[in-house]
């Protein structure tokens, strides 16, 4: 059965994790990632509202929610703490990977994902801390906006969440990694052409010599 766009993204993001990693997953799409982790990769999930060891919901406990405010579970070995300690872990480099959604990403590795002036103002929550603190910042998003417009730009136009923070962008079409030389297109989703990705991307992309199909979809 064909995977949805979101499932393609989540499946590919899962391969960015190493066994033992401490990982923070943003609200929405990123929460699908654990479903696609390889059997030999076990990660510990950090929930910025105050714990490590987020797990599947078992029974509803009014005192125990995830960072989206939804009822959550914890695994054996979990540790609870306050918001201070939670962000000490984030900013202090104790997280290996953070996965977030994006409204715009650009050639400088800038990320915008917390507001559209005059329209949508959710706020940054913990995202600004996560993008400066985590060792690897994965932006997991659909390649283009609902109106078809590019989201991977030469320069972000929306207020930034972080400057030069993006490590890798995973969309339903491609995997693009930030390098010192700029954005490198490394992988195409199955059935997607280089031309399609370029047409839907405003930013200049360096085409990797090893450009290949996303692994795991054979």
């Amino acid at each position: 059965m064909a995977l949805s766009s979101k499932e393609i993204i989540a499946k590919r993001v899962a391969l960015e994790m190493k066994d033992g990693d401490i990982v923070n997953l943003g609200i929405g799409l990123p929460t699908l990632v654990p479903d696609f982790l390889p059997a030999d990769v076990r990660v510990t999930l950090h929930s910025e509202n105050g714990f490590v060891g987020l797990g599947p919901l078992q029974e509803v406990d009014a005192d125990l929610v995830n960072a989206g405010g939804q009822p959550a579970g914890i695994i054996p070995g979990a540790a609870m703490f306050d918001s201070l300690k939670s962000f000490e872990l984030v900013r202090g480099g104790h997280l290996d990977v953070t996965v977030l959604g994006g409204l715009q990403v650009d050639e400088q590795g800038n990320l915008a994902n917390y507001m559209v002036p005059g329209k949508m103002v959710p706020g940054m929550g913990g995202a600004m801390d996560l993008v400066v603190g985590a060792k690897k910042v994965v932006v997991a998003m659909e390649h283009t906006a609902k109106d078809g417009g590019a989201k991977i730009l030469k320069q972000c136009t929306l207020p930034l969440t972080g400057k030069g923070v993006v490590s890798v962008i995973v969309t339903e079409l491609a995997l693009i990694r930030m390098t010192q030389d700029g954005l490198v297109l490394e992988e195409l989703a199955p059935g997607v052409t280089l031309e399609e990705v370029q047409a839907k991307t405003e930013a200049s992309l360096i085409i990797s010599n090893g450009l290949k199909t996303m692994p795991g979809f054979e």
């Binding site: 929930s47 105050g50 929610v65 609870m80 918001s83 939670s86 103002v121 940054m124 929550g125």
Partner: protein, 218 residues
């Protein structure tokens, strides 16, 4: 020093124009007895310091709907459309603050620090009006302390000396806020005798807590 009091008596400490910190994360760990009482009394012109503005029908979200808040210092307002509306319409000042920075500013206020240098928000709109310092070649923002006239916190348990114990993800901002206000009112799920909480399990020392109210929380 008698600390146990009634909800009615405790709420008299909150008056028009005050700065009020309220614990909780999307309403979880919020002292709902206290927030309800303040909504019912219609106390006005409050400056609210909280992680978020919850939902229109929940916790401090009701204060927003009731137009009791003139300014909110929060990390996230996406779950309360009324906050976004008042913000865009210029009816309420909303200072969007990264969650980790919010926690650090509260901690600074409670611990006598003049400020902290954080990498969070460098290169974003959060920089505006702030001093930037470079330490060891890296840029940081100087973020200043936050204090409140009153902090309203929720704990699962307290002894009559005011020692607090939190439970699961309801700890969040309650612990740092209890250090950073002139008057600290704790709504607690259970009040036990002095000596019934092991000193190692105390999460906030009772010496900073002024009033205890038996409540329902969450």
């Amino acid at each position: 020093m008698r600390k146990v009091t009634t909800l009615e008596e405790a709420v008299t400490r909150v008056q028009d124009g005050m700065t009020v910190m309220v614990g909780g994360f999307l309403g979880v760990g919020t002292p709902h007895g206290l927030t309800e009482a303040i909504a019912a009394k219609g106390i006005q012109d409050l400056t609210l310091i909280c992680n978020d503005t919850a939902r229109p029908d929940l916790g401090v979200g009701k204060w927003v709907v009731n137009r009791q808040v003139k300014r909110a210092i929060v990390s996230h307002v996406g779950t309360n459309p009324e906050t976004g509306r008042q913000m865009i319409a210029g009816e309420m000042q909303v200072d969007l603050t990264p969650q980790g920075t919010l926690a650090e500013r509260i901690r600074a206020g409670g611990s006598g620090l003049g400020g902290i240098l954080t990498p969070t928000g460098v290169g974003t709109a959060v920089e505006e009006g702030k001093q930037k310092l470079t330490v060891a070649g890296k840029e940081y923002l100087l973020e200043l302390p936050l204090r409140a006239d009153v902090a309203l916190v929720y704990a699962a348990k307290a002894d009559k000396a005011g020692n607090l114990v939190f439970r699961r993800s309801a700890r969040n901002f309650n612990a740092p806020m209890a250090m950073a206000a002139e008057c600290v009112i704790a709504e607690v799920g259970e009040i036990v005798e002095v000596g019934e909480i092991d000193p190692d399990e105390v999460m906030v020392p009772g010496i900073v807590v002024d009033w205890l109210v038996l409540g329902k929380g969450v």
